[in-house]
Amino acid sequence: MYWSSIFLKTNSMRLALLFFALLSYQGIAQLSGSNLLEYSYGKLPNENEKSFHAAYSKPILNYRWDNIKAVVGLQIYQSPYSDRNYIDLSWLGVNYKNKNWDISVGNFNSTLERGILLRSYEIQGALLEDLSFRGKHYFYRDLLGASVGFKRKGFRIKALWGYALNSVFPPTRSFKERRSDEIAAISTDFKMLNQNIGFSSIRVKNEQEESYYGSGNLSGTIIPNLSYYSSYATSLNNDKAHALYSSLNFSAASFGISLELKDYRNFLLGSGINEPPALVREHSYRVLNRTTHVLQPSNESGFQIEAFYSPNLNTTLILNYTKAKNGETITFNYQEWFAELNTSFTENTDVGLFLDYAQDPLKGQENRFSAGFTLLHKLSSENFQSIGLEFNSQAFKRDNQTMTNYVGDLTLQIKSKIVVNMLSEWSTDSFFTDSSRIWFGSTIHYKMNSKNKFALFAGERRGGPACNAGVCYEILDFKGVELRWTTRF
């Protein structure tokens, strides 16, 4: 905070701030912002700790002036445990963008080669609480440094340098721990005969290693309904690391199909700055989302095939088959078959059905059967009142014992303004309980207006693995009350 006190104490800077404010008045520049505030009172149900109060806040301020955008954002966490508390300047950056140039200094996001070399992400609204550190922080991975991009008539080049964030570590940890990987990369692609050809190279440097990787990709359209993408990346240090990813897409009338192949060997870069395509379907159904196969970039090969059929805009049939192989001497073969139908039963009623069968030896799950349905019925067209019901069930064998999981979810909704949700889960999984266990929680969402939203949760939340927007992470159990206020201005 030393630099900021100097910044604010000089008269020239004060004048600059007022100048920027006056630009807003003229409509030339704009200031906008948001805040996510979450108060909680509760504890982890399995821990021998008492319930405690905690508050997390994430104020962000954006300033736009013509082609320039500046951002500054804080993360604040307060609890009775002083070692978990922090105030952190988490976002500070400037971006200039026009038709040809894209220049960023400070915090920025970048993804190279579909995540094979580098992947930035932000799981919107997700707060991460790790069992080792406790204390909440926002779930994202960005770079702190600078990037320059240029594009013109089918040609694009980007160079970047920075320190990648390891999102597991909270802001209470040192810069060295949180951003241990220094990255320098260059990426270019150009269009020729309706095909895109791209090359990228990245250097990853940390206390343990200095590694270089290179990649090439080819993508385009063969005929109007048939397109492809193929990428191959390898280590330039001769350490037998490579990643191969290919996809082929075909569509005709109401039918679409996607075929993807992968072969990854020793391809976990640095502390995990990359995230190659997983080729495993990310399910929205709770019992399936929790048991999603997590990609092992150090050793995994396989394929995924997914077909879509949409006879009309309100009906979609999805079929998916996934196969993944892990290990060298001892191999684990993951397989999953999935079918889902979403349709409008009547004008006011939507129905969704799914069936899933999987074999997951890595998790010790044999013959995993899952099935469920969703039902959404519009009660009143005047206020768009609706009632939703979801039920998931799952059974599998582990060590010759049958484990079951059930989820029931009831939702009442008035427009997007008020949503009342009641969620109950029941499990006999020996990883969580000796006999059986029930979780029950309820959430009320209230959208006051387009700028202010509230969510109140009370009850017990089941933790475990979760996958969201292509990123898998661990959620901790929670028992208590949470109030979240999201605002923008």
Partner: protein, 162 residues
């Protein structure tokens, strides 16, 4: 510190008066062609829909927005569907979109550059933008029937333009 508070107060007040304006963006469409916002925006209004293939409410909203687009495109309303799928699911977007037969312009925001620029914090998010690039309406989430509310906004702003 009081200068910071004065700055924030004056700026926020002034920003509220002028309404948020969007920066013109340049991204590729689903067929890999470079697109510029200025070239594809509507003559009167532009509806921008942020969606992802894994987002159930997004997929429910798409047919309704498609119907609105068909109804109002002759009156200068353009629909831009901005896809934010990441590396995990991006391969499925093209066959899904083609099988649904969507006629709107599909833009790919894999790096979430537009998403960040327009302060999108939830999927789906829908923006209605005026011909002078001001965001006149922002809607997060989708509930069955809400397309009527969106249509009301379109009609209201189209009548202002006439």
């Amino acid at each position: 510190m009081r200068f910071v508070y004065i700055f924030l107060f004056v700026s926020c007040y002034c920003s509220t008066l002028s309404g948020q304006k969007i920066r013109a963006f340049h991204v590729n469409d689903i067929d890999g062609n470079a697109q510029s916002y200025d070239n594809i925006k509507g003559a009167n209004l532009t509806v921008i829909d942020f969606w992802a293939s894994w987002c159930k409410p997004c997929l429910k909203a798409i047919p309704k927005l498609e119907a609105l687009h068909q109804k109002y495109k002759e009156q200068g309303v353009a629909l831009l569907s901005i896809n934010v799928d990441g590396p995990r699911s991006i391969a499925k977007v093209r066959p899904l979109v083609k099988s649904l037969g969507i006629s709107s312009t599909i833009l790919m925001d894999t790096d979430k550059q537009i998403d960040d620029d327009l302060d999108v914090y939830q999927i789906p998010t829908l923006l209605v933008v005026s011909d002078d690039n001001k965001i006149v309406y922002r809607h997060e989430g989708y509930a069955k029937g809400e397309e009527k509310e969106i249509e009301h906004v379109l009609v209201e702003h189209l009548s202002k333009n006439q």
